[in-house]
């Protein structure tokens, strides 16, 4: 693969000492990696902010005759996305530093896939849990007389829905990170 591109590179510019095709491919990958990690950070931050600001108190005379508190706290959701936000900051820095030091790429790729998979598990389960509860809130469940609450807490539900959409985007970004890392690892491991 490298031998076909070598003459062109030599004719256009002075040849760099490391094998050119492999590093070019890997540097491109790590740029995508940095962008995706920044996206993950942005989406987890947005998800946390939107869900934390979703508190709504509503006077519900039929149910309680007083002030109802906010229906659910989604603690697990906030915790999971705090972890993923922190993780994405650290790994963005790591990914940038790997661009500077190409000899560490293989080790970092292995570590990235490992931790990305765990983070994917965490935020996917958080998204699923919040989505499940939100679905019950939206539709209700007649069999066990859980009434729908989204017609009462409309602002709250809009916040939850927006936050869930952003969270789903973050999960997809993490999945893409794993896929790209696997692809880069596949290119780098001699077989």
């Amino acid at each position: 693969m490298a031998s076909t591109t070598d003459p062109e590179l030599k004719s256009s510019e002075p040849p760099p000492p490391p094998p050119p095709a492999a590093t070019a491919d890997a540097v491109d990958y790590f740029k995508i990696d940095v962008i995706l990690r920044v996206l993950l950070f942005a989406s987890s931050l947005a998800a946390i902010i939107v869900i934390v600001t979703s508190q709504q108190t509503e006077i519900v005379p039929l149910l309680t005759g007083g002030f109802a508190r906010r229906p659910a706290k989604f603690k697990y959701f906030v915790a999971a996305f705090s972890v993923s936000g922190l993780y994405s900051i650290i790994t963005t820095l790591a990914s940038i530093s790997v661009i500077q030091k190409p000899q560490l790429k293989l080790k970092f790729l292995i570590q990235f896939i490992f931790w990305d998979t765990l983070i994917l598990g965490i935020i996917a389960s958080a998204t699923g849990a919040a989505g499940g509860v939100a679905y019950v809130g939206l539709k209700g469940n007649d069999h066990v007389s859980w009434n729908k609450i989204c017609n009462v807490y409309d602002k709250f539900c809009r916040h939850i829905a927006a936050s869930l959409a952003v969270a789903l985007f973050g999960s997809v970004v993490t999945l893409l990170l794993i896929w790209f890392s696997a692809k880069a690892l596949h290119h780098r491991v001699p077989k």
Partner: protein
Amino acid sequence: MEMMIRKASVCDFVVRIVAFALTLMAAIIVGSDKQTKLVPIKLFDSLPPLNVPLTAKSTYQSAFVGYAALSLVVEVVIRRGSSRWLLGRMIVMVDALMVGLLFSGNGAASAVGLIGLQGNSHVHWTKVCNVFTKFCDQFEVALSFSLLASLAFLFLLLRPLFTLQITH
């Protein structure tokens, strides 16, 4: 070296079959999970309690069957083309997708199950597991099976990384 790789692939295959069996069992248990119970409801204090038959039935059935079918497809793919490199990469990608889907499915099911177990007094969702005990027990068993299955898929995804770390 060759021996180690062969051992690892046999191990992968066994774990994959275990994961398939676990998801299938979870799907069957959740699918057959149904309980009808006579629940006494007091409409007015002066009247005698009214017995109402209530049925608890799970709605996650189709999702779990989908997971099982997907894992079956993955298994067939790996049995056909374990030697081919492109298919190996495809399997890694599908495995990652499966980990995401299984974990979110588990999250959703356990969150709703937790509401069923504890209720939510803020919005008057009463707990139902004191009434539908058999239903809830069966649901818990299925949930733990599918949790084990998702851990198996996690193992399948991470196991090659450990061999890579040893060999490089």
